[in-house]
């Protein structure tokens, strides 16, 4: 009880720092969700994606596909220059590039369904999947008519009118997920703040208790090691839960209206998994940093580094393959994955499995942190024993 009480008295020192982080975070999430909102608002109303279609088809069907897509989306006129296209994609002037090959019409007439077109898209983006499915749908509808012996022009007409009905339905459905709600941004940025705030709320207190004088003084008292550990663990759990509840209340306050029950539960699970990791990190950091400057440095490096590499501040597509491969070794990557999955869970229930994997990996990271921390304490006390 003494240790538990002392925990929160020592925590008082960190409160101004915690408060600053809170303000920064809210500012960031406001700012970023605000700018995100603008772009989603346009996609939401028109649901248009900027695309380029390079049509080399020698028959007429390719042109049909192109004109169909141009009706739904914004067709950006481009030349077939690979480098230029890459640039356009990078700067998001184009989000999707479709190549219709020379033998497109021929293949359709031969009922070849595989690899009719090629495309380049923003990796792992929703718009990419969205267009893929539109193109696939168009082609499979078209093939049905063409195989049935209907002439090209007629087949294109039929296909178009068939799809128009469906598209309107589809748009309604998918618009839910294509627009990223504000809560998406809020929860996506949380790990950054969680790392900083949790480390700040745990490590300084543990460091105080690890200090040689304080530690020895406690060892001289009738307080058992177990009592002390329980006090510290309980203190950190309550702190982390407090932080969690604070941010959750905040989320409800800001976005409560738009948050459905299922989504909320999944967000909570995801947050708790990440917080477990952050708590483990807090323990680990407290063992290996000897003073508050080092602690702050580690916190910043971990918080910012993991957030950037894990795709929290920067969309993952911009990061390049090598970085993404590397970022798989960071729990933030899996956290963001889970947040993305949560966005789609309504239209794509099978994504739950992916969500679970992401949670699992985060928990593994947490376990690893605690294991290393435990080994670290052992090592540290062994080292002391050797000298003493």
């Amino acid at each position: 009880m003494q240790v538990f009480k002392a925990y929160f008295k020592i925590l008082r020192d960190s409160i101004p720092g915690l408060f600053i982080y809170l303000v920064i975070f809210i500012a960031i999430s406001f700012f970023l969700s605000g700018s995100g909102k603008e772009s989603t608002a346009t996609t939401f109303t028109k649901n248009k994606v900027k695309i380029a279609v390079i049509n080399e088809d020698e028959g007429g069907l390719g042109e049909g596909l192109k004109s169909y897509l141009s009706q739904i989306h914004t067709l950006v006129p481009t030349e077939n220059d690979k480098e230029m296209l890459q640039d356009q994609l990078y700067y998001r002037n184009i989000e999707y590039i479709l190549f219709i090959p020379k033998d497109f019409t021929n293949k359709i007439k031969n009922n070849e369904k595989e690899h009719l077109c090629e495309n380049v898209k923003v990796p792992a983006s929703y718009t990419g999947k969205y267009l893929d499915s539109q193109v696939d749908q168009y082609i499979s509808t078209l093939i049905t008519y063409v195989i049935a012996g209907i002439d090209d022009k007629q087949a294109l007409e039929y296909t178009k009118s068939d799809l128009e009905k469906e598209v309107s339905v589809q748009l309604l459905n998918e618009s839910i997920s294509i627009s990223k709600a504000d809560d998406y941004y809020y929860f996506k940025y949380l790990p950054y703040i969680f790392i900083s705030v949790v480390v700040m709320g745990i490590s300084p207190i543990l460091m105080t208790f690890y200090k040689k004088e304080i530690n020895e003084r406690n060892l001289c008292s009738p307080m058992t090691l177990k009592t002390k550990s329980i006090g510290l663990v309980a203190g950190s759990i309550v702190t982390v839960l407090g932080i969690f509840v604070l941010f959750l209340v905040f989320a409800f306050f800001l976005y409560g209206k738009n948050m459905e029950f299922e989504k909320t539960i999944l967000y909570i699970i995801n947050c708790i998994s990440f917080l477990s990791f952050a708590t483990g990190l807090g323990y680990l950091v407290s063992i290996f940093s000897s003073n508050h400057n080092i602690l702050n440095m580690i916190t910043n490096v971990c918080g910012l580094g993991m957030s950037f590499l894990g795709g929290i501040f920067v969309p993952r597509e911009v990061l390049g393959e090598k970085v993404i491969a590397l970022s798989k070794f960071l729990p933030t990557y899996w956290y963001v994955n889970a947040v993305e999955a949560i966005q789609e869970v309504k239209i794509n229930p099978s994504i739950m499995k992916e969500f679970q994997i992401n949670i699992g990996v985060q928990l593994l990271f947490a376990i690893a942190m605690f294991a290393i921390a435990l080994a670290g304490t052992k090592y540290k006390s062994d080292a002391r024993k050797q000298v003493s």
Partner: protein
């Protein structure tokens, strides 16, 4: 005979090559203020850490309250109060909170605890600094806080490791008075220091240690009896010839004569009329002298004689 509160037998503690405690023996009885006197690095803190089971040692055994001490002897720790040489307080807690925390490790009852904390604050005179943080306290006040944290729970045995380092004489006197008072209230006290005056002033029994060995033990009178020096005669002499110095040295009981900076120091072993004999000699040889005073041996003399070096450099 009162019971032994602490009994150390043949304690050996090594830090790699360095032997910090070398077959160290010590017995401290109930009701004593026991002084552990030794220069820097002599092993005082090491001894205390062994008593508290903070350190493992290579040989020997340590008993506290008649029981072998071990890290898990919490019932023994319950009755021990400790004031470390290095101040052990939480910088993040106020004076009151610090005392409350440490007292609370021993005293579970809230009411009693509150009372004890108040008393401890009163005792060290920190009432006016109740809500100060340690960083805002002067060195002396910080030491007092350190003491309050160690004694608030009214332990039967109080161990103080140089509690007055860097404390001004006034605060120091207050602390020393406090220690005597605690002792009167029934606490057994172990007090380490390398200030012999302090130890002389308050301790009922003293052990002199150096290089991990217990060199002498006894009351201050007993310790002074152990050595050759009965008194040191000091006199201001402007001029004196070497021949005279030699002759003075041959006087009965005189065993050492030193002349430097116009001062003559004559060490005599125990015996009567030493001063008169010296004064006689000076007069018959017509050596002019100024102020004369005789000093009884101090613990420093004891230490000097036993170890051949000064206690303080």
């Amino acid at each position: 005979m009162s019971a032994a509160v602490i009994k150390i037998e043949n304690l050996v503690k090594r830090y790699h090559e360095l032997v910090a405690l070398d077959h160290f023996n010590l017995e401290i009885k109930e009701g004593e203020i026991f002084g552990l006197l030794g220069p820097n690095g002599s092993g005082k803190t090491t001894t205390i850490n062994c008593i508290l089971a903070l350190l493992s040692f290579d040989k020997g055994n340590v008993e506290v309250f008649g029981e072998e001490m071990a890290p898990n002897k919490y019932h023994l720790k319950q009755d021990i109060g400790i004031v470390f040489q290095n101040v052990a307080v939480f910088n993040e807690l106020t004076v009151y909170e610090n005392i409350e925390y440490f007292c609370g490790l021993y005293i579970k009852n809230k009411q009693t605890r509150k009372q004890y904390v108040e008393e401890a604050m009163e005792f060290v005179g920190l009432n006016d600094f109740k809500s100060f943080y340690p960083k805002k306290l002067s060195g002396g006040l910080l030491r007092r806080l350190n003491i309050a944290c160690g004694i608030a729970h009214k332990p039967k045995l109080i161990i103080m490791d140089e509690p007055t380092v860097a404390v001004d004489p006034q605060s120091r006197n207050k602390i020393l008075e406090g220690i005597v008072e605690l002792n009167k209230k029934g606490a057994t006290i172990i007090y380490t220091s390398h200030y012999m005056e302090e130890v002389e002033q308050i301790c009922t029994r003293i052990a002199i240690m150096d290089k991990g060995k217990n060199l002498a033990i006894g009351t201050k009178e007993e310790l002074k009896m152990m050595i050759k020096t009965g008194e040191t005669i000091n006199m201001e002499v402007l001029e004196i010839e070497d021949k005279n110095l030699e002759e003075i040295k041959k006087l009965p009981h005189v065993y050492q004569v030193e002349y430097k900076e116009n001062k003559l120091h004559i060490k005599c072993s125990k015996g009567k009329h030493n001063l008169i004999r010296v004064l006689d000699y000076m007069q018959t040889n017509q050596i002019a002298f100024g102020r004369v005073y005789a000093e009884l041996p101090t613990l420093n003399d004891v230490f000097l004689e036993i170890t051949g070096k000064e206690l303080r450099d």
